[in-house]
């Protein structure tokens, strides 16, 4: 029983991290006009920035840059800033491209970035990765209870991401993004600059993904390039589509549902040979779920709801104010 609870706590934590990424992806791809197949790059850059800023200096057999051992809150800011700056750099050339071309170009950058993580040993310790990373507030709690603390922390992060994305979508900026998604020429005639709006949106999304990367480091206590493959991008997209693209609640729920679908089978105890077949079948199951959702409920569990403005009431309010 105890094992089951611990397992549930562990996958809930992972689910919360996925939900953060889903919210961030929903902001740019669901609500905004950017079909981003490279969200994993910002996630990875955030995670690595956090690690390099907060980890202790490299040991003899390791080699990675910095290792400043800075406090975690600086790492958090660094992770978000890293993701945002990376999004800016990638966005500069790629945002000129349209839909499918943008999709592929972002996928391309994600792949290049992963190869940099894997090959540049001086920066990231290469495929060997960096191990034994510290978790926050670990010394204040009993080691057995720590997974609950981590879950609570991750949920706080999720709540923060939820709040930020919600405010942005409701803001004039969020509406401008939505206008660009629906009809770019019309949005331009309404005075929206597609280039500026897109790059801002891309940067915000990148920063939020980078921020989520920090929690992934806490969750795993290690960081290797293999964690940031294109699979993860497809997983996040699948989660968002299952939940409902364009809907905040959909993004939130989608992350958790995806992880439960993907990882609950892991709890079954099977023999070694079977286990290999099992992991593969798990992937097939995810694919099947994605196909079925798209077939029978393409809008996802929670469909996007149009926002209605009560104009007379708004006018009255403005006059009274």
């Amino acid at each position: 029983m105890e094992g089951l609870i611990l397992f549930a706590v562990s996958i809930s934590t992972l689910g919360a991290i996925y939900a953060m990424l889903c919210l961030s992806l929903n902001l740019e791809s669901g609500n905004g006009p950017l079909w981003d197949l490279g969200i994993v790059s910002f996630f990875g850059i955030g995670a690595y920035t956090y690690t390099l800023l907060t980890a202790d200096p490299a040991l003899e057999q390791q080699s990675f840059l910095l290792g400043l051992g800075l406090p975690m809150w600086i790492g958090a800011i660094g992770a978000a800033a890293g993701g945002g700056i990376a999004a800016w750099l990638i966005g500069l050339p790629t945002l000129r491209l349209k839909r499918e071309y943008f999709l592929i170009a972002t996928l391309a950058f994600a792949e290049i970035i992963r190869q940099v993580f894997a090959n540049e040993n001086w920066l990231t310790n290469g495929v060997a990765g960096i191990y034994g990373l510290r978790q926050p507030f670990k010394s204040y709690f009993d080691a057995a209870d720590y997974s609950y603390v981590l879950l609570a922390l991750t949920l706080c992060g999720l709540a923060f991401t939820w709040y930020v994305t919600r405010r942005i979508i409701a803001s004039p900026f969020g509406r401008a993004c939505k206008a660009l998604r629906e009809n770019e020429p019309l949005a331009i005639t309404a005075g929206i600059d597609p280039q500026k709006t897109s790059i801002r949106l891309f940067m915000i999304s990148g920063a939020l993904s980078g921020f989520a990367g920090m929690f992934y480091v806490w969750y795993n206590t290690l960081i290797i390039p293999g964690q940031f493959v294109a699979d993860l991008t497809f997983f996040i997209w699948a989660a968002l589509i299952i939940g409902g693209i364009g809907n905040q609640r959909g993004a939130l729920v989608g992350g958790f549902i995806f992880i439960f679908l993907h990882d609950s089978l892991r709890f079954l105890q099977v023999s070694g040979e079977m286990a290999v077949a099992f992991t593969s079948l798990r992937t097939a199951l995810i694919g099947l779920a994605l196909i079925l959702i798209l077939r029978f409920r393409p809008e996802g569990i929670f469909a996007e709801r149009p926002v209605r403005f009560d104009l007379p009431a708004l006018k009255r309010e403005a006059r009274d104010a």
Partner: protein
């Protein structure tokens, strides 16, 4: 000399794997991510057939036909019903299909690395230099022949003309008495069969492992973008540009950056010509989706 040899071989495989993908992009208008897994399926079913004792030539033909049938089946079962729902739904249906193939092949074949059991041969000599083995030469010849046949097929046969007509304007094609459904099945069969064949070749040249589909789809995407989405001839040219670009680039950077290099090439090209290589002969201007 090595650059020319390796460039030619990898260009052939890239060409074979990308034309099928480009054909589907042209007719169906979406990026079929599952195409990479067709390579995986082709490679493993080819291996299965050759382990049954079949010679490599019938085995690869069998694998190609099998993949073609699977592709046509996928179209009928998965893609056609959701076609009306838009590009994004189609794209992620294909991602789902890719995971299904990947998972099923993985469950059956296991995670071990495998290889075709072919008799070893010595590289042939050209002007006294080791050139390529008989397998590699066969791959290059088949790839070029396939590209040529595809061109002749599309340009001169009624079936090929119907494919081009449907790709261009489905309603008009229907009005002219072409059955778009039959044409689509044909396209999916041909494209997937070519993918399967490319998979077998990829397996012959190196080894078979589960992630080969994902690795190759990245190169395929790069090639397709470089050639210009929806342009078949652009893609054929792009396959050579990418292959030689990678081989030349590998002089300067470590081999582990292979697909990164392919992408670097396309990023540069896209910045100059956002429509891809097809813009060289004026294609792709009117494309709206």
């Amino acid at each position: 000399m090595d650059i020319i040899t390796f460039g030619l071989i990898s260009a052939s495989v890239i060409l074979l794997s990308s034309v099928g993908f480009a054909l589907i992009v042209q007719v169906e208008g979406f990026l079929n991510i599952a195409h990479g897994q067709m390579l995986l399926l082709g490679a493993y079913s080819g291996l299965f057939l050759s382990n049954l004792g079949l010679h490599i030539i019938p085995a690869s033909i069998g694998a190609a036909i099998f993949c073609g049938l699977v592709g046509a089946l996928f179209y009928g079962l998965l893609f056609r019903p959701v076609k009306a729902k838009g590009v994004l739904v189609l794209l992620f249906t294909s991602v789902g299909a890719a995971y299904v193939i990947y998972g099923v092949v993985g469950a059956i074949a296991g995670k071990r690395m495998l290889a075709f059991d072919l008799p070893l041969v010595r590289a042939m000599k050209l002007f006294g230099q080791p050139f390529m083995t008989i397998y590699e030469l066969a791959i290059v010849i088949v790839a070029i022949a396939v590209a040529l046949c595809l061109h002749l097929f599309l340009a001169y046969t009624p079936a090929g003309k119907s494919i081009r007509a449907v790709a261009d304007n489905e309603d008009l094609a229907r009005a002219r008495g072409i059955d778009p459904l039959r044409t689509s099945y044909l396209v999916w069969f041909v494209a997937s069969a070519l993918g399967g064949l490319a998979g077998v070749f990829l397996g012959i040249m190196g080894s078979l492992h589960l992630s080969m589909g994902w690795q190759q789809i990245i190169i395929i995407l790069a090639t397709t973008v470089l050639g210009g989405i929806g342009s078949l001839y652009g893609v054929m040219l792009a396959a050579f540009v990418i292959a030689f670009g990678i081989e030349i680039g590998l002089i300067f950077v470590p081999a582990s950056y292979r697909s990164g290099l392919a992408f670097l090439i396309i990023v540069v090209v896209l910045l100059v010509k956002p429509q891809g290589l097809q813009a060289l002969w004026g294609g792709g201007r009117d494309r709206t989706h």
